[in-house]
Each structure stands twice: as structure tokens, then as C-alpha cells.
Symmetry: C2
């Protein structure tokens, strides 16, 4: 098989991981395991067998470039002047890749997911790359649901293409529990993993069709890549772009979307403190303690306290995260709202806490 | 009326106010109002019209003596070598007072209560002092319940003695809600305020009868008060004493207990973080925030965060208290258990956190 390039999308702020995740050291640079390996390091290591050392790109905010070079020294860093969500990041990466191979296949990865069965992931990615190489399709890795999760987007499987590849008959946003149950029981629905595989020419064609403003901007950048004016032109273009995800901007409109149906390979999008906790084994009462913490009469609590002593008494399903200068207390049912704290801090100009 | 002496019992550790209250700066030295006045300062100021500057005693652990002199410079400090609960403290104070006046009336106050109507308190104390001067009774200030509180001990009113003075027909420990309701509805029950008024000779006689070991110890100390060997003898005696409260040791057994029935004068024993919060006005959702705190979708929460920024999301009836080096998170329903954290820290030898 021809070279499969990999693009790690590392521009996110990880606002749902406040207060540990901060603007200048967002979630992807944090570790969730006792190995000390950061999420982005783990992502790069996992896909190394696919793309080797020479074909890994990381797209991220220019401010984070030094941190990326520290964590993933072999990556080719593509710097965004401002964050404009995943469509713009992928568009920029596509320009770099088509310069090397206009029909080059590349896979896009969030920087901050966890995967347990890495061998299975690689097999899935290789099949997806084959599908993308031989068909003009936009492939999303779809994961067979193991329970009616309300925190993920879903895709419905359409006509088979080849092997585990299917057309996507429709994308669905995060459902409520009732709908999640219907999706789960039908057997036709898959979680949208946020991992994509396609050819540079195919995704650029999709931008041209569904995001013409982004496409025009990319066409301005294309001729100056590697030239002195690249940063200036990219800054001008990005300044005027809307921040739109690849899902909303392209995939929900394109008719050539495919999904690669995968059994669950221990994938976790680590999208919240609750999901983060799933990577660890709690004690027999369901409590997960990190650092200097004491719980009395507690159940299913998550306590992360590396900078001081924390005592929690008589609580259930509570998340307590201390970062030294800032503290979060929140029931597990509200972990998706953590980004609201960051929004509020922005409003109040508390930049040192963001 | 003859001089009424006052004794502030300031030996408590305030373990239920961990992590703000610590062994070397317990609760009574902390402020609960915006005035910055500590609880012990407020107590001393309130009773100044009763006892003047010259007749105020503070009994406390010897280690706290410098702090007491700082907060209440005019107090006569009686140092205990080790804490042996209120019976021993009151016994020691009685020795000092009988040296000046064997039939001297004195009032005992916890150092850490809050009172809103100070004029009413003084009137109540003066009536109690008159009762104690003219009758051989052990007077407890009883407060007419304003609701079925489960956090206080109760006293049942017996035969009238004079004015608002009644015999106590029985003391009752903290009731469950059902019993608290019966007590409240009967109209015959009063909260045990922990404020006592009696003569030195009467309480010493009660010790002789119901706590003979304590009494014998006191009789060893009596002849050496003011002499070089006082500290040594007191240390020897206290070492061998059981730690017993005046309620368990004397009042529940004595037949000459009286109560002075008082209407509620805005008294609060500040016995827990929950009771502490009652001294402040919460916002319209019942949240009480001190320091740098943000709550989103919270109700009836107490957040005290003077050393860092704290965000609480989606919580109800939760207490979050940060002390810089230690943090407490606990539902309001569990605030009485805070002392268990202190016990656990003692067990683990974490002395710097106690």
C-alpha cells in the first residue's frame, strides 16, 4: 500500500478539562496514565506503524508549536495563526499533503483520544486507507456502540461498499437517551469517532463544493506554502474564516461519505472528566483518587488533588479537580458544562485562569 | 447585684470547622463576620457589661495562651496542660473564682457562639445570675426553640422557681427529627445553649458528689494556685482525668438543675459549617460565596475560597471550604462528620493538616 500520512489535530483548548487543561498547556499535553505519556504522545506512538516517522503532521495553534515539538519531536508542525475549528485545520493539512502526493491518502486524528487495543485500531485504519485509496469517499471510522452513549455523534450505515466499508446514510448529533437506545438497539448505527481517512484530492473537492469560502482561502495559501509570505497569507485567510467543524461543514452535506465499521477497540474520546475517569480503575466503592485525597462515605467520586490535601465526605457521583490555583467541583452529571466556567472566566478577563 | 464573673471556655479544637480551624488557630480565633472580629473577641465584648474588664477568665490549652492574650488582652488566662473537656475546665475556673469569693457567681460561655440580640442576652444572664445567687441551683440558659432543630440538646422545663427560672425535669441529647418535632410542639422544651450560671460553692459541691475523681484533683490544685508548683501539679492532675463534659459529668445527674427560659436572641452555636453559613445572607438561590468563587446552576451551596479560584457547577446543598493547603467538600447533610477527617488525619500522623 502507498504511504498513508497522518494528521493530528491538536488545536483544541480542552475547555472541558478545566482547571487542569489551560490555554498554554491544553488537555492533549496532559497524561492520563501512570506512564506519564501525554495524550498527544500516545496518539503519535499509536499511529507510527501506519505513517512512519516522516509522514506525521500536527496542526495546531502557532502558540503551541514549541510544546508540540517537545512532545512529538518528529512531527511536521503546521501552525494555524488562529483556531478556526477542524475544517480549516484539515484544509490546511490537505495543502501540505497534496504537494507531496496529490492523491495521497491521509488519516486525521484528534490529539486527545485514548485507545486500548492499538493493534485493532491499526487494522481498522489500514482497511479505511485502502477504501479511501480505491474509492472517492470520505471515510469516518465508525465504532459499534457498546451501550446507548449520549455523548457521541452517531452515523447510520447505508449500502455496503467493500469489506467493512459502508456508505453513510446519515450523520446524527448527540442523541438523548431514548434515541440513543433506539440507535443502539437497531444495530445500524455507529459512533462517530472523529477519526477520518481520505485522499487529499477528494477532501479538497469536497471543500470546493460545500465550503467555497474556505476553499478559496486555501487556494490563496496553496502557492505560498514554504515561501516567506506563507505565515502572512495564512494569517489573512484564517482571520476571515468561520470556525466550522469538518462534520458540519462537509460530512453532513457530502454524498460520498463512508464509514469503516469497527468493533470497539477500547476507544474513548476522553471528552470530559467523566470519560477521563474511565481510563482508571476505581476502588470498590467506585471512587477514583489521584494525589493526596481522602474520601469518607463517598461513592463514584473522582478526586484529583496533586497540590494539596482534599477531603470529601458523604458525596456521590461528584468530581473534584484541583489545579493549585483553581478548583472545580461538579457532579458527574454536569461535567459537560465545565467549558461554561472557561467561558465565564473569559468574560471576566481572568486570563491567568484560562 | 454582686460581681458576676465570666468564664470563656476556649479549649475546643473546632474540629468541625476543619480545614479553616486548626489546632494552632482553632475556630474561636476565626472571624465569621465582615467586621473581622474573632468569635472569642465577640464573646468577650458581649459579656463585658456583665463582668467588666477585671472579671473575665478564659480557660484554654496552654498552647493557645499567646493567641488568647492577643485577641482578648484583658482576660485572665487559665491554662490547661491538656484538654479534658468542659467539666475539668469549669472545675479549674471555679478554684480561681472561689479564691476571690467563695460564693461568687460565675457564668460560663463557649468561646465560639454567635448572638444577634446582645441586649437580650445580657438581660437573660443577669436574671440567671440573680437566680444562682439566691438559690443553690445550677442554671443553664435555655432557649425557646424556633423550629425542631436536631443539632442541639434539649431540656424539659419542670417546676417554676422564680421569674423565668424553672427546675430542669430532664436533659435530652440531640433528638432525631420526629422527636425534635414533639419537643418543639410541646412548648415545654428548651435548647441547651451551653451557657451556664452558678456559684463557685454550688458547682464545687456538685463535682464532689458526681465527679469525685475530678473533685479530688481540684483539691490537689487548690492549695498551690499562684505558687511555683501550680503548673506541675495541674499537669499531674489533668493527665489522670477523664475527658467528660459538664453535661454528662454533672448536669444529667444533679437534682438542683435549673433553666432560665429565654426567647430566642439570635443565638447560634456555630457548631458546623452549616450553622456558620446561617450568619450570612445567601444570594437569591441560597448560595453563600466567600472569596474568589463562581457557582453555575447551584442551589444552597456554601463556597469559601480565599486562596484560589473555585468553580462549582450544578451542585445542591454542597459545602466547599478551601484553606490553601487543604480542601473540604461535603454535602450540608454531612457537616457534622467533618471531625472524622481530623480523626483520620491524626491516625495518619498528618499533624501539619490538623
Amino acid at each position: 500500500m502507498a504511504t498513508v500520512r497522518s494528521v493530528i489535530l491538536a488545536g483544541g483548548q480542552g475547555a472541558r478539562f478545566w482547571p487542569i487543561s489551560r490555554k498554554h498547556r491544553p488537555k492533549q499535553f496532559l497524561s492520563i496514565s501512570s506512564s506519564g505519556e501525554s495524550l498527544i504522545q500516545a496518539t503519535a506512538r499509536r499511529i507510527a506503524p501506519l505513517s512512519g516517522k516522516d509522514h506525521l503532521y500536527v496542526v495546531s495553534n502557532a502558540l503551541l508549536a514549541p510544546l508540540i515539538r517537545e512532545h512529538v519531536p518528529h512531527a511536521r508542525v503546521i501552525s494555524e495563526p488562529v483556531a478556526r475549528n477542524t475544517a480549516a485545520s484539515i484544509g490546511l493539512a490537505a495543502l501540505y499533503i497534496e504537494r507531496e502526493d496529490p492523491k495521497g491518502v491521509f488519516a486525521c486524528f484528534p490529539a486527545d483520544h485514548a485507545v486500548k487495543d492499538e493493534g485493532k485500531l491499526l487494522a481498522v485504519l489500514r482497511e479505511a486507507a485502502g477504501l479511501a485509496a480505491s474509492h472517492d469517499v470520505l471515510v469516518t471510522i465508525g465504532i459499534k456502540p457498546t451501550f446507548p452513549h449520549t455523548g457521541y455523534g452517531y452515523m447510520k450505515r447505508g449500502q455496503p461498499i467493500a469489506g467493512n466499508g459502508y456508505q453513510v446514510s446519515r450523520f446524527y448529533e448527540k442523541p438523548n437517551l431514548e434515541r440513543a437506545k433506539r440507535y443502539y438497539e437497531s444495530g445500524e448505527f455507529f459512533w462517530n469517532s472523529g477519526m477520518f481517512v481520505w485522499r487529499a484530492d477528494v477532501i479538497l473537492q469536497a471543500f470546493k463544493e460545500f465550503m467555497p469560502a474556505l476553499y478559496q482561502g486555501l487556494m490563496r495559501i496553496r502557492p505560498v506554502i514554504g515561501k516567506p509570505e506563507e505565515a502572512k497569507v495564512t494569517a489573512e485567510v484564517f482571520e476571515g474564516l468561520e470556525a466550522i467543524s469538518i462534520d458540519f461543514g462537509v460530512l453532513e452535506h457530502a454524498r460520498n461519505c463512508a464509514l469503516l465499521a469497527a468493533d470497539h477497540f477500547g476507544w474513548n474520546d476522553v471528552g470530559s472528566w467523566d470519560a477521563w475517569a474511565e481510563n482508571f480503575r476505581p476502588d470498590e466503592l467506585g471512587n477514583l483518587l489521584h494525589g493526596d485525597a481522602l474520601v469518607l462515605d463517598c461513592r463514584n467520586c473522582v478526586v484529583h488533588s496533586e497540590k494539596r490535601f482534599t477531603a470529601v465526605i458523604g458525596a456521590q457521583d461528584l468530581v473534584v479537580i484541583d489545579a493549585g490555583d483553581a478548583l472545580l467541583v461538579c457532579p458527574r452529571s454536569h461535567v459537560q458544562d465545565v467549558r461554561r466556567v472557561v467561558d465565564e472566566l473569559k468574560k471576566r478577563g481572568r486570563d491567568n485562569l484560562i
